[in-house]
Symmetry: C2
Subunit: 190 residues, 2 copies
């Protein structure tokens, strides 16, 4: 039997994205976002919702650029810290020891330690109630060569990405392959 | 060392959402979406990108309503089938044996077998290149009582949700808790 949890923003899985930006003085900042996901293929775009009071929002308005990194579980604590404090008060790269690296195609930084990074150009900003949904055009995806499999495809186990449980306020690991898409459902084809 | 994968829509984790709608004759349909995520808190909203040629897009335009279900891995094959065929040609509920249940608050169906369902009212439609991003206001979240933990919170292990690997075209399971949010990062606080 199903019970109601009311009108709440709940879904599984929720991502843990680290958004990298520069301010007008070139100071690198990083914030954490769980409201977001891929939103288009042509052009390839990703959306992340950011409170307009955040430093990251101001930075993106000015530079029209940001990165979205997929952190690995080895840097879960550093990632969490980036969500705990404001870039207005702290230098999160300095505090955590993460290494700011300038993106190749856009004016935005990312932490060199994270295995996957999307370089994004600001594409659009949508108002959704009090929130602002930033749409970034993905101009390049970079990945650590060490997390590729023998087939040269990204290997989920090696990437070590993790997800966010908004109901328990916990991070959790990702698991193992359970089936092939556009194939597992063939048994129902008539 | 990082290598470039080019401009591609890649992120980890990507969700597996099942979008439930009725057509004008009241026929229940279900499609699978991996482009999407929570996008606002006030009001709580979820976004899913849907090709405007899909039956689901037409249905949402007409009914202004849809559901987003989180399928469990026990129904991975049924879910995959919903992404393989079109509701224009097939009755996916009949083909898979999934049970269409009418949502309580909106005019849309969901599969009763899935553990979590978000009842959504159409809030907005955004154009992003050739794609259409559907924004749904979450008016209620329903969950199987059996997947709650002792603390009455949704238990990720019991829910059994899974995710999508777009690079390998595979589904994969979710793992186990690895840390507490807004806590694990405290060690870097000064």
């Amino acid at each position: 039997m199903k019970i109601s949890l009311g009108a709440q923003p709940i879904a599984y899985p929720l991502p843990v994205f680290v958004i990298g930006t520069y301010d007008t003085n070139g100071k690198a900042d990083a914030m954490v976002a769980a409201w977001g996901g891929i939103c288009a293929s042509e052009p390839p775009c990703i959306s992340v919702t950011i409170n307009p009071n955040h430093q990251t929002f101001k930075n993106i308005q000015e530079t029209k650029a940001f990165t979205v990194s997929i952190p690995d579980r080895q840097h879960m604590k550093e990632t969490d810290y980036c969500g705990m404090v404001s870039g207005k008060d702290r230098d999160k790269f300095q505090d955590t020891g993460l290494t700011p690296v300038r993106a190749e195609h856009v004016s935005a930084p990312y932490a060199g330690e994270f295995p996957v990074v999307l370089e994004c150009r600001l594409f659009d900003i949508h108002e959704i109630g009090t929130a602002r949904q930033i749409i970034g055009e993905i101009v390049d995806v970079k990945i650590e060569e060490a997390v590729l499999g023998y087939d040269r495809k990204p290997d989920l186990q090696k990437i070590g990405a993790f997800a966010f449980d908004v109901m328990k306020m916990e991070y959790y690991s990702l698991g193992t392959p359970i089936g092939k898409a556009w194939d597992a459902g063939k048994k129902f084809k008539q």
